[in-house]
């Protein structure tokens, strides 16, 4: 299963390196979202800095939708999805591979967004361990559930509109917990973020487990 996961993740990441859709489209999209939040809330840093954790994670959530859609768009061309089904790879491995490729891209994006909130909103970065921990755990949860819903929506004509509707309400706890963890870290009290990190870890473990079980049947159905 893990070997298959590495294969699939490698394939997805190689496609990204060669096509640069994430770099050229999803990254700029996330930065545009950050800029628009700034315009919506006004130029006052005393308003923007305290809100930066929440705005960061909303930008991540929106970008996750695009990353997941991209992850399945590359399977829809040239019947690649059928090829994937015929390849004999373990479906759980395919799930883990696709989810980790999405997670890897999101983590790179988050690094850029972190610099973005520091520069644009004047957020003072501190508690690096908590910041990174929340990113890793939160992103794993987002990627897992995104990949799961991605395969549900991928074969459908209404996939572009259906995926966000299914995805966003369910990831509300990730937004909440990751924002609170970041809030604590940015406020200089990273030791109080522990419980929120636990929520993120529990969420990630639960939905990775569900994905491993449910992905196979969903892939067959599409």
């Amino acid at each position: 299963m893990l070997r298959d996961a590495v294969l699939v993740a490698g394939k997805d990441l190689r496609i990204e390196v060669r096509s640069r859709v994430g770099l050229n489209q999803i990254g700029p999209f996330a930065i545009a979202v950050l800029l628009l939040f700034g315009l919506a809330l006004g130029p006052d840093r005393q308003v923007l800095a305290p809100a930066s954790a929440g705005l960061f994670w909303v930008a991540v959530l929106l970008s996750t939708i695009l990353a997941v859609q991209r992850s399945y768009a590359i399977e829809s061309a040239d019947a690649a999805r059928d090829g994937l089904r015929l390849s004999g790879l373990d479906p759980a491995g395919i799930f883990l591979g696709k989810a980790s490729a999405v997670a890897a891209q999101l983590l790179v994006l988050e690094a850029a967004l972190t610099i973005g909130v520091a520069l644009l909103y004047g957020a003072r970065l501190s508690g690096a361990l908590v910041l990174v921990g929340a990113c890793v755990a939160g992103t794993l949860g987002l990627a897992a559930i995104g990949t799961l819903y991605g395969v549900v929506a991928s074969g459908l004509r209404v996939r572009e509109t259906l995926l966000p509707l299914l995805f966003l309400p369910v990831v509300a706890p990730v937004l909440l917990a990751a924002t609170k963890a970041w809030d604590e870290a940015l406020a200089g009290t990273p030791s109080r973020a522990g419980g929120w990190l636990d929520v993120l870890v529990v969420f990630a473990v639960l939905y990775v487990a569900i994905g491993i079980v449910a992905f196979g049947p969903l892939l067959e159905d599409g």
């Binding site: 559930i145 799961l148 819903y149 549900v152 459908l156 004509r157 209404v158 259906l162 509707l165 299914l166 966003l168 309400p169 369910v170 509300a172 706890p173 909440l176 917990a177 609170k180 419980g195 929520v199 529990v202 969420f203 639960l206 939905y207 569900i210 449910a214 049947p217 969903l218 159905d221």
Partner: protein, 251 residues
């Protein structure tokens, strides 16, 4: 039609449903009458208490409906109990649940504005309910996507279970988030324990019973409609129409 398809509804079931429907409507009408005209205004809340005869029953039905939908989805996914009936039940129940969640949110807001001074507060129960409402709208949208029956059933069931697992996480994290922000301002204890005796208690109880009957009635009809829709998809319009006619004659 030589052999009637399994979906044919016997006359007895149709009569039972009709009796159920009439009982439910009479119950709701009586609740409204008792709630508006017979029961006294509350000592603390005044006439606002009258909304509480319908709001908690609506919320109860919403959660009951989602509970039934989740259970039916689980039973569908379990290979030993997999039948299309559970899929239809999940869809029918979720649809009724969405309607009642909408009613719960609206009636709660109307009650909250004069009581708490705000149409909305970020209480865990409210937030979870609102997220469930949005999620189940997505679930129904997913169900409406055409496709083979078993494919649609499986992906819907998995989506319903994902939401079900999400509910406690949402609830607990919002509760925790709130407790760190400000003391809960919802339901202060003096107003909370006022509606527990006499005609008020009976009216509330009647509200719960009649709304539950309305839920069963609506879900049964929605289930029946889904059955006919599936029949139409698989065996064609003629069979479904013939069935509907036979039912009309029998009923």
């Amino acid at each position: 039609m030589s052999t009637p398809p399994p979906a044919v509804q016997s006359g007895r079931v149709a009569v039972a449903l009709r009796v159920l429907g009439v009982t439910a409507l009479v119950g709701v009408a009586t609740t409204v009458w008792l709630g508006l005209f017979v029961t006294p205004p509350d000592e603390f809340m005044g006439n606002l208490v009258r909304l509480l005869y319908v709001h908690p029953p609506m919320a109860w039905v919403a959660f009951l409906a989602y509970g039934v939908a989740s259970l039916a989805s689980l039973l569908y996914l379990w290979p030993r109990t997999r039948t299309e009936r559970f899929d239809r039940l999940a869809g029918a129940s979720a649809e009724v649940g969405v309607v009642f969640t909408g009613l719960t949110l609206v009636s709660g807001s109307i009650w909250g504005r004069p009581t708490w001074g705000a149409w909305w507060v970020w209480d865990p129960l409210l937030t979870t309910t609102a997220l469930l409402f949005v999620f189940y709208l997505g679930y129904l949208a997913l169900r409406r996507v055409p496709g083979e029956l078993h494919v649609r059933a499986r992906r819907s069931a998995i989506a319903a279970l994902i939401a079900f697992i999400d509910v406690p996480i949402v609830y607990l994290s919002v509760e925790w988030w709130r407790s760190l922000h400000q003391a809960p301002t919802v339901l202060n204890p003096t107003t909370h324990k006022t509606y527990v005796h006499g005609s008020m208690a009976w009216t509330l109880l009647l509200g719960f019973v009649s709304f539950t009957l309305v839920y069963i009635w609506l879900t049964a009809h929605r289930y029946r409609l889904a059955e006919l829709q599936d029949l139409e998809d698989t065996e064609g319009l003629d069979v479904a129409l013939a069935e509907r006619r036979a039912e009309a004659v029998a009923g």
